[in-house]
Every structure is written in C-alpha cells, then in structure tokens.
C-alpha cells in the first residue's frame, strides 16, 4: 500500500483497463502498416460494444458476444474499405464519418439494453498458479480475453516480421505502386488488413461492455478508440511498443480510478482528464525524441490508391 493505493490491485487492474485499447490499437496498427489510416476506430469499437452486449445478453453466452462484437467491428471496417478503396473517398473524412455513424447506430441499437447485466466472462483457471502471492494476482487471475490480446500482439509481431504475407502487407503500406507493379493485389490486402483491424476494435469494444464496465451505456467508449490511434503513433507502428503504450495508458486510467476510490480531495472530473492529457504529453515527448530521426510511418499511409495513376 502506498498512499492508500494497493499496488498489486493497481497492476492487476491495469491489465484489464488496457485490454480494450490494446486490442483496438493492435488492429489499427495492421491497417496502418498496410497503408490505410482508419480514423473510425471509435465507431467500430462502440458498435462492437453494443453488438457484443446485445448478443451476449440475448444468448446468455459471453463467447458469442465477443464473436458478435468482432463481426460488428469488421462489418463497419469493410464499409470503410469499400468507400476508401473502391470509391476512393478521402480516408480522414470517411474515418470521421465511420465514427459519427457508429456512435449514432450504437445509441439506436443499445437503447433497450440499458441497465441490463451481461453474462459473466469466464476466467481462465490456472490452478495453483493463481495462488502465488502478488504474482498470481497480477498475472494469473484474468479472463481469457486479456491473454488473447497478449497472444494477438505476439502473433502480429511475428506475422509482420517473419512471414511472407506480412512482408507483402508492409510492401503495400510502404509503396503501393511498387507493390502493384510486382503483381500484389493492393486493394485485396488492404481489405484484409482493415477487416482484421475492425474485428480487433470490435472485440475491444465488446470487452468494454462485457467485462470492463460491465454494462451498456451510450457513448461508453469515451475516446478509447482515439487513444488507440494515438498509441499506434506513439508506438512508431511497432507491435511490441503498442503493448507498452497501451499498458502505460491503462496504468494512468487505473491509477486515476484508484485515486478517486481512495478519496483524495482532487475533483473527480479533473482526475478523469488525466488519461487524455497524458496521451497528448506522450505524443509531444515522442515527437521531441524523434525530432532528428525518422518517426517513420508507412510511406503510403493515408494516400489513395488508383491503379491508373
């Protein structure tokens, strides 16, 4: 205990608090490495949150809920892919549209689910491991999605680094004209990357409504999708750094909640600003650190691709 805050609880809470943004940021990282900037993460997350919640409540099955959340996010991402890759719309504007649309649609769909409780998400049983003092509480006391998110980061890291498909994806993101000239299907690769990103964001959203909160309230993502976008920049488009960024952010969120609970005389609303201010500060510090070197995003990031030009 330091200043009325239990460190073990804080770290265990951090892992849960980070999981939604970690999932969303990992998915967005893959999309951005393929050269597409999808600013609709917030919209995909919240649709995943409501879709996952609705299915989990009506089937009383948390697994189906998470699946539905991922599907909702993916559907929205494929809509984005169709508009930006086939109709060649502006990626920034379309991403914003996706967020506004997602927020509206989720509010519409979620109205009748307010105040309900979702079915419990099962914890993984590690047997005696979870009885280890301190470490057991921190590492072996979580539900399966927490571990899934960690596995996902490792898989994405391995995929981008060691597989041929990962190499093609990166080639498409770095120079889509060259990749096209080599015979790779730029648009197909980007559809796949966006779909994966959407599924991850939807899964993260479902985690918010099924585990983290756990209930459905309108606008419950409260900027988590935008923070996921910031974390991708913060991580310089590297999966292992996404993990650091997301846990750092989760740490701030958990600490802020613990400070509220510990009854410090700081107004709640000022404490709630902390995660957003810290995100801005982190982006500034990172930009200063990379001032002279390359803070290189994928070279084709955000540029439209049309085979004729």
């Amino acid at each position: 205990m330091i200043g009325g805050i239990d460190i073990t609880t804080l770290i265990a809470m951090l892992m849960v608090a980070s999981t939604p943004v970690l999932l969303a940021a990992t998915g967005e990282l893959v999309a951005e490495r393929a050269g597409v900037l999808n600013l609709g993460v917030e919209g995909m997350m919240i649709l995943g949150a409501v879709g996952g919640f609705a299915v989990a409540v009506s089937t009383q099955n948390a697994y189906l809920g998470f699946l539905a959340g991922a599907v909702c996010g993916m559907v929205l991402a494929l809509l984005f892919a169709t508009l930006t890759q086939i109709f060649l719309s502006n990626q920034v504007a379309t991403g914003l549209a996706l967020t506004l649309f997602g927020l509206g649609l989720s509010a519409l769909l979620g109205k009748s689910y307010e105040g309900m409780r979702p079915p419990a998400t099962p914890r993984l049983d590690f047997g005696p491991l979870s009885d280890i003092p301190v470490l057991g509480r921190i590492l072996f006391s979580h539900d399966w999605v927490v571990y899934l998110s960690l596995v996902l980061v490792a898989l994405v890291w391995g995929f981008l680094r060691f597989t041929r498909a990962g190499l093609i994806l990166r080639a498409v993101g770095e120079n889509h004209h060259a990749a096209h000239a080599l015979g790779y299907r730029v648009i197909l690769v980007r559809f796949a990357a966006l779909g994966f990103g959407g599924a991850c964001a939807g899964l993260g959203g479902a985690y918010l409504s099924l585990v983290r909160v756990p209930q459905w309230t309108e606008g419950m993502t409260a900027g988590a999708g935008w923070i996921a976008l910031a974390i991708v920049v913060f991580a310089s488009w590297r999966p292992e750094r996404v993990l650091i960024g997301a846990y750092l952010f989760g740490g701030i969120t958990a600490l802020q909640l613990q400070l509220q609970a510990a009854g410090y005389a700081i107004p709640v609303h000022l404490l709630s600003m902390a995660p957003y201010i810290v995100t801005i500060v982190a982006l500034v510090l990172l930009s200063i650190a990379h001032r002279h070197g390359a803070q290189a995003g994928p070279a084709s990031l955000g540029k439209p691709f049309h085979a004729s030009s």
Binding site: F101, G102, G104, G223, L270, I280, L283, S287, H306
Partner: protein
C-alpha cells in the same frame, strides 16, 4: 467490367450534384432504416423534411431552424477553411465548450453587472477561449510536429471534463439550492443573448454566422490568402515554392476555426441554452464536420448545408414526438448522409466507364 478513369480536373457540375444525390440516397436508405424500426418510412421522411417548415405546427419549429443552424454554420465555416488546407481540426466540440465557459465565466464573475458592454465582452471572451483551445494543437504541431487530429480530439474530452467540473464546482449557482448548473443567463439581462426578432429564433449567433459566411467567402474566393490556403491543400509542394509558410497556415486555420467554435458556444450558452450544465453541449462541433463536407467546403455551400442539417435535427424532434422515433435515429441518418456524400464523390473526380478497360 466497370473502370474508373481519373478526370483531369474535378467536375464542377458533379461537385454540386453529389450533395443532392447523397440527400436523396440518404432519404431512401433512411426510409429503409425507419421501416426496419417499425415506423412508416413515408411518414418519417415527411416528419423530418416537410413538417418542420410547412406542417401544421410549423410556426413553432421554423423559429428553431435558425437556432440550430447558427452554431452549425458558424463552426463549419471555420472548419471548412482548415479542411481546404488539409488541416484537420476535429476538436471543434472542445473549442465550443471552452468558448462557452470563458464567456459565461466572465458574466457570472461580474454578476450582477448592468452594462451594455458585458455581452460584447462575453463574445470576445468566447472567441478567445475557443482560440486558445484551438491553438494548443496548432502550436504543438508547429513546434513538435504532433498530429493535430489526435490532439484536437483529446482536448474535446478534456473540455468535457472541465465543463462538468465547472458546472458542479466553481460556476455552480450559489442560489441554486445545491442543484448542478450555473445561474440562468436568460434571467441576467446584460448577459442574455436574446431573440432579436420575435418568432424567428434569430439571436446574435445568427448574425455572427452570416458574417462568418461572408467573411470566409471573401477570404477564400476574393483574397490571395484564400488562394494560398487552397493551393496548400491541393499541392503542398507547389505552395511551398510559392512562398506559403505552412506553420503560419496551421496556426491561422486552427485559430480561426477555434475562435468561431468558441463564439458559437458562447451564443448558445447565453441564449437558447442559458445555463452552464454538464450536458449543454449538443454535439454541434461534430455535426459541423458533416456540414462542412456537405457544403463542399464552400462558404455558400456551408450555409445551405447548415440549414439542411438543422432541419434534420428539428425533423428528428418532430419524428420523435409524433412517431416515437428514437432520438439516435437522426444521428444515424446524419452519419449515412456523410457516407453517401463521400461515396458519390467518386463521380466528381473520376469518370465511370462500363465495358472493357480502354
């Protein structure tokens, strides 16, 4: 096989036709959505687009049209300037809140002042508040190269928490029996932003919105600065050779849109809303993004788009009242409108050819 062939220059005809097409497509898709919700689609479309202007209770709703359109137009005309230059201020909602807080703070701090100078001073404070909030992402971008999209958006959440803090703390009405929210500025004559012509809904914010449209029109289409802004957006390298200083452009665009959004917030809090509460902001800052795009980033277009979007807000209220349509349905409707617009825009920049590749 359908192929797209890039036009040498965007088609001017399609540029104006796509918004109309998008509205039409949204009506159809929206009709399907309403049908899926169990509402008669024709009734719903009529309630949204017809009843507020020409229906039986139109005299009440017509006044609301300008009340809703004014902040949208004021904010969107500022945003459109930045979007033209490729500077993405998406935090107008935050600038709107901080502008409202700054102006309201002045009035409540001087309570009960009785001077005609109070309201103009509040407008200036509102603009300054929005300006400062908009300059934070601008300066961070100029000094450190931080992405303005993310920073301006993060600041929305900071502003929302600041608003809640103020409404429950420093600005709370001391005579309010512990209820959250500030004194009502509508009952504070020298701070009130009144209806100027009875029944029209026109308050000072409407005047400001019109001035903003004229100002941005002159700036963008009759002045060298507007030419530079447009070149910077379309061909950044060419602009740099032509002597456009990108850093000054970032500061100008974010500052201008911030100040406009701040003023819009002040007019709202001193007029139609009246009170600083934790939820007085109605998402105008986000809807204004749709307005800016729907208006083709052109001042006159923004004016028309703002009126149309205000109509959907009021129509949403009518539909909610008469057909029990959920309030969020109208948000979906607005989102769809932007989707269709962006999708149809392919016609502006590309020619569609059916048949085999040439």
């Amino acid at each position: 096989m359908i192929t797209l062939i890039k036009r040498p220059a965007p088609s001017a005809r399609w540029a104006w036709a796509t918004p109309l097409l998008a509205v039409l497509a949204t009506m159809i898709a929206g009709g399907l959505l309403f049908a899926a919700l169990g509402t008669d689609p024709f009734e719903a479309i009529r309630a949204i687009f017809w009843d507020p202007i020409l229906g039986p209770n139109a005299s009440y709703f017509r006044g609301q049209l300008l009340v809703k359109a004014a902040p949208l137009i004021l904010i969107a005309s500022g945003l459109a300037v930045g979007f033209r230059a490729g500077i993405w201020n998406i935090g107008a909602e935050g600038q709107y809140i901080v502008g409202a807080l700054s102006g309201a703070w002045l009035a409540l701090h001087l309570y009960p002042a009785e001077t005609v100078w109070l309201f103009p001073a509040m407008v200036v404070m509102g603009a300054l508040g929005g300006l400062v909030w908009g300059l934070i992402p601008a300066l961070l971008k100029v000094a450190f190269g931080v992405n303005e999209i993310l920073v301006s958006l993060m600041l929305v959440y900071v502003a929302e928490n600041l608003l809640a803090y103020m409404a429950f703390g420093p600005l709370k009405n001391p005579d309010g029996f512990g209820m959250p929210g500030s004194r009502n500025l509508q009952q504070y004559p020298s701070a009130h932003n009144p209806e100027l012509l009875a029944g029209t809904g026109a308050h000072w914010g409407v005047v400001a919105a019109l001035i903003a449209v004229i100002f941005t029109y002159i700036l963008m289409h009759r002045h060298i600065a507007g030419f530079r802004i447009r070149v910077a957006g379309e061909a950044p390298r060419a602009a740099r050779f032509a002597g456009v200083e990108p850093k000054r452009l970032v500061i100008f665009c974010l500052g201008l849109s911030g100040a406009f959004a701040g003023m819009a917030g002040l007019f709202e809090v001193a007029g139609p809303s009246g009170q600083v509460t934790d939820s007085f902001n109605a998402g105008y800052g986000f809807t204004a993004i749709i307005v800016a795009f729907l208006g083709r980033l052109h001042p006159v277009g923004v004016l028309l788009a703002g009126l149309l979007m205000a109509l959907t807000y009021i129509g949403g209220d009518v539909a909610q009242l008469m057909l029990q349509l959920p309030p969020a349905a109208i948000q979906v409707f607005q989102g769809m409108l932007l989707f269709f617009l962006l999708g149809f825009d392919v016609l502006t920049n590309y020619r569609i050819r059916f048949g085999r590749r040439a």
